[in-house]
């Protein structure tokens, strides 16, 4: 019979200590972030126009919110600690090993996800920092939330802060090419390119996958194996020749150049073939007997049945083009704002404002935040799609 075990008491105390310290940091930062967003919102509705004033007002509001944040943190933490303590007391001595194991599991998972997600939280928090305050030290080293938040950075990144046209002394007029090089334009370009590419890749892959899954073609299996083989070639390999082809076609610096070379997706054909293999052939035969043409079979039967995989491939291709930095970099004409996409725009921007951390972080938000929101709604498709290659191979 196991009686009093000093080891378990010590382990429990250590885990409890980690819970208190880590919990305080995480909960307080999240609450402070929430209070910052609320303060910015109220400050802007209170009608402050100029950037510095509204950031002062937001700062004052945040000071008022601060005791609420701290108070809530301690209340929540006390409740959690009390719950853990009562559970511990109620757990029989034999089961306390299991209890410690569960506690360890949760704590490592929470701390692990906090570490993995921290860069993005830090990006968000820093993007609201007024320029020049990045260096300010705080008593709590983990406190990354600005004291006087501002949205000036976002205005700068969108180049909304340029003086109105005709004003004396204004170097940049809003209509110039230079002023069009803002993250609004980059975002629009990335969105257009990624959406068009994703649509056509999905369509072409569905058509190709249909042939390999359900139709006849001489040397079909050999052809498919050949396509699969080319998947092993690193994408880097294609950089030089594809660049030459694009230049010879006279497409350098256009939006077409950004996605045309990637319209044939072997992975997409593979995914559609795998999925369409599971569609019963008798369905297609029945449709043919009813007089459906090849096009009708594909349009009315195959496409609706393959919708889940089509959506998955659409999202994955969208992501691929959203972050296809190297290719977009080499075919970008930096004089033409219409061809600059988000990642290329960020690289350009980073070269110009390398010391302005808060500006770079607010520019990064344009790429990260939409994808995070998309992920929240469609995570099943992302996770299943990205891992399907490994599971089914």
């Amino acid at each position: 019979m196991i009686g009093f075990s000093p080891f378990r008491i010590v382990a429990f105390a250590v885990l409890l200590l980690i819970l208190v310290v880590g919990g305080t940091a995480i909960i307080e930062q999240l609450l402070r972030f929430g209070s910052m967003v609320a303060a910015l919102f109220f400050a802007s509705t209170m009608g402050f126009e100029s950037g510095s004033n509204s950031s002062k007002a937001a700062g004052e509001l945040m000071l008022k919110f601060a005791p609420v944040c701290t108070g809530t943190t301690y209340v929540v933490l006390t409740v959690i600690v009390m719950l853990v303590l009562t559970r511990w007391m109620r757990t029989s001595i034999q089961n306390r090993g299991n209890f410690l194991r569960t506690m360890f599991l949760y704590e490592s998972l929470i701390i692990g996800s906090a570490i993995v997600l921290f860069p993005f939280f830090w990006m968000l928090a820093t993007s609201f920092k007024p320029q020049g305050t990045e260096l300010i030290m705080k008593s709590n080293p983990f406190d990354v939330i600005p004291d006087e938040p501002t949205i000036t950075n976002f205005k700068k990144v969108l180049k909304l802060d340029a003086p109105p046209p005709g004003e004396t002394g204004s170097e940049i007029s809003p209509t110039t090419v230079e002023n069009q090089k803002n993250f609004g334009t980059f975002f629009k370009n990335s969105l257009i390119i990624s959406t068009i590419a994703a649509f056509f890749v999905t369509l072409f892959s569905a058509m190709g996958g249909y042939v390999f899954a359900k139709k006849e073609l001489p040397y079909k299996k050999t052809l498919f194996a050949f396509f699969m083989g080319t998947m092993m070639i690193p994408g880097m390999m294609y950089m030089v020749p594809q660049f030459f082809i694009i230049c010879k076609l006279g497409l350098f610096g256009t939006r077409w150049a950004m996605f045309l070379p990637h319209l044939a997706s072997v992975f997409g054909v593979f995914m559609f073939k795998q999925f369409m293999d599971t569609i019963p052939t008798s369905l297609i035969e029945a449709a043919r007997i009813d007089g459906a043409s090849e096009y009708q079979v594909f349009r009315v039967l195959i496409i609706p049945l393959s919708m889940p995989i089509a959506l998955t491939l659409f999202l994955l291709t969208f992501l691929f083009h959203w972050s296809n930095f190297l290719w977009q970099l080499i075919v970008t004409d930096f004089e033409a704002p219409l061809s600059i996409t988000l990642p290329v725009g960020l690289a350009l921007f980073k070269g110009q404002y390398s010391m302005d951390l808060s500006l770079i972080m607010s520019a990064s938000c344009f790429s990260i935040v939409p994808i995070v929101v998309l992920f929240l709604f469609a995570q099943r498709y992302f996770i299943e799609g990205m891992t399907s290659g490994a599971v089914k191979e």
Binding site: L109, V116, L135, S205, M236, M237, V240, F375
Partner: protein, 317 residues
């Protein structure tokens, strides 16, 4: 006996396949040969596609060859060989670390837990975000003087040389590990989901049988779990190798190939992986040379694939 398809069926098949086939041939198949053709040329003077000059095999001689000087062997292009070494280091450290981290996470999550899906999504999320942007954020975290690590350590260590004055990315010995750390944290969720799916497919009865036979938990992990996870580990090795050969955005955003390190008589970029070296050659207008490098890299891939098929045949499908 397989009946050969009717010509009408073949025509309709080709019609469905044609858009894919068109772009495949133009942008994926033709470039493989076009690249070989280009690798026999060199830019004679300055930029421009038109002033390419036929140089035969001299690009390959320059990349792979060596010459004798003062009685010792000198490589013609030590920077290329160095970039292969850096790539091997990058892959050799990040792949095992990534497998280790994602397996650890999967083992943690492979329990009856409240909020399991939340953790799964949280760890997976960084995978889908733009590599360049994530690397930019990490570069800012490592940045000297105002980066997160600099500000954090200033509280404990004062204005220390390592994090505050120089920053991890400016030190030739810590730049590559810093990049690897960021990339492992970004990628761990992907392997975790794969391992988790595989772990869930192992039937409980296997472990029950092992329990009856008196196997310890460690033995069960070592002798049952790990062998059953081998296909996933293998898959992660393969994708990791391709990923290392393709590595570019993270290097571009975090170190731009630097900081410089002096080895013997050569000054080399301590994080110049082969993909970045290829880009540097391309960027400086050496199109033919870049094409030749990409062909050599393709050969490296072919050799690695051959080794894989030769020595791990069971898992190669």
């Amino acid at each position: 006996m397989r009946t050969s398809p009717s010509s009408a069926e073949t025509r309709s098949s080709l019609k469905f396949l044609s858009p894919f086939l068109f772009f495949f041939v133009l942008f994926l198949l033709f470039p493989i040969f076009y690249s070989l053709y280009l690798s026999f040329f060199d830019a004679s003077e300055g930029f421009g596609l038109s002033n390419l000059k036929w140089v035969g095999f001299s690009n390959y001689v320059q990349i792979l060859g060596f010459h004798f000087q003062d009685g010792s062997i000198k490589l013609n292009d030590p920077a290329f060989w160095w970039s292969l070494v850096v790539t091997a280091l990058y892959g050799g450290i990040s792949i095992p670390l990534g497998i280790f981290a994602s397996l650890g996470l999967a083992l943690l999550l492979h329990n009856k837990l409240f909020g399991k899906n939340f953790f799964r999504s949280a760890f997976f999320l960084p995978n889908i975000l733009d590599m360049l942007v994530v690397a930019t954020i990490w570069a800012s975290i490592y940045a000297p003087q105002y980066g997160f690590l600099a500000v954090l350590t200033k509280n404990f260590l004062g204005e220390n040389q390592f994090f505050f004055k120089e920053g991890m990315l400016a030190n030739p010995y810590t730049a590559l590990p810093a990049v690897i750390l960021a990339m492992v944290l970004k990628g761990a969720g992907f392997g975790m989901v794969l391992f988790l799916a595989a772990l869930q497919n192992i039937p409980d009865s296997v472990y029950e049988a092992a329990d009856i036979d008196g196997a310890s938990k460690f033995q069960q992990f070592w002798l049952i779990t790990l062998p059953l996870l081998r296909p996933i580990i293998f898959f992660m090795f393969i994708t990791g190798i391709i990923g290392s050969l393709n590595a570019f955005s993270e290097i571009y955003a975090m170190t731009s190939g630097g900081p410089q390190i002096v080895l013997g008589e050569e000054t080399l970029g301590s994080t110049t992986v082969s993909g970045f070296y290829l880009y540097q050659q391309f960027e400086s207008g050496q199109y033919g040379y870049a094409a030749a490098i990409s062909y050599v890299l393709l050969m490296v891939t072919v050799i690695l694939t051959w080794i894989q098929q030769r020595f791990f045949p069971a898992e190669s499908h």
